[in-house]
Symmetry: C2
Amino acid sequence: MKEPSESNPLRIVLADDHEIVRAGIRRLLSVNRAIRILDEASNGQDLVDIVEYHKPDVVISDILMPKLNGIEALKKIREKKLDCLVIMLTAYEDSFHLENALAAGADGYLSKDIKSKELVDAVFNVIKGERVFSKSVVRLLQRKAVSSAELDPEPIVITKREQEILDLVATGKTSQEIADNLFISVRTVESHRYNLMQKLDVNNVAELIRYAISRGS
Amino acid sequence: MKEPSESNPLRIVLADDHEIVRAGIRRLLSVNRAIRILDEASNGQDLVDIVEYHKPDVVISDILMPKLNGIEALKKIREKKLDCLVIMLTAYEDSFHLENALAAGADGYLSKDIKSKELVDAVFNVIKGERVFSKSVVRLLQRKAVSSAELDPEPIVITKREQEILDLVATGKTSQEIADNLFISVRTVESHRYNLMQKLDVNNVAELIRYAISRGS
DNA sequence: ATGAAATTAGGTATTACTACTTATTTACTT
DNA sequence: AAGTAAATAAGTAGTAATACCTAATTTCAT
């Protein structure tokens, strides 16, 4: 890619479900004249459509959004082979989302508590081919690198049924209620719960629910 | 209060733990020259100090913030009899927070998905003595009004210790671990849990955690 | 059509939580 | 100084969740 300039600006699309946050990103990016914001989405579904239409250079997207969350939207963008760089923005810095975002093909992962210069730099650095992370996220990555000793941590795959059960657990349903709800045995529900907890590396409902909620339940 | 103008502007303080959101609020308010942002806080503790120092006309604060959340900060502001109007901003529109914010003395409750004009209008309307709510919040209020049939629903009061335990429950700690952590008996922890569940009208950890998380744990 | 993954579900123990009640000791307010 | 709210904690039961293992179907893609 040739050097961006005011006459040949970097073309960016934003996605966040809150007007205030979109305004904030616009403001933080506005210090640089070589950046142009083409359009904004307030949910993941719209984002995919907008990216397909505008073919931006860079997408800056929130994770938690209605209809389709940022990571799912990213997956669709990759599936459709839409050639653009995607930076995820998030209020919650947990390794679960981070890993999922990376597995889905994110080019960066930034905290919403980021300064103007850092955000602008991040955008230009992904254009150069780097992957960008905010400081706090780097710390998360380092901790993971040590604990897993794996360079390419395999993404956590949660099946359809497991997701269904996770959602019900998160709304406060007991295993018995879930079983009645889905017309299956309590034991089956318990199996799914057990498997979920193994996959997510947690030991109790509390953590399970934290994940469920952070996944958008 | 006399009419605000460019030479005699409305003095505002912001609070949100994310730079992007603060930038967004600044941007949305910047269309009006009779508004001046005096200072910003990134947590509730700082907010209280800043309000004490600047004595602003209006505070616009997030609820979920580190150290001290927006509602607790609001309570302190009221306790200290600092004369200012407080508008809460939130990403999560649930009646639990809404009621608590109102009980703590909030003058407005707005969604983060708010347009520039609406936000500016809200600020000027609270100055006039109105209480301001975004559309989605009004719907919440209406539903509550019908379901509770009470004009002034008494707020749910969670004590300091209960909050502490709620936070630990939400991080996935067992009662035993919480007991060890706080150097108290498991039975005490269980009592607190029981009382919390009564107050919040829930029957299991799952729902308890939903509250804890939505309260900012 | 065959293998892999997903869904189903039972067995067996152990631990944790939930549902109350009662009661003592602090802490704070008027 | 008295009164109220908060924090402490034990008793007694019953229910739910967690931690494994094993294993039969079902589904789905190559």
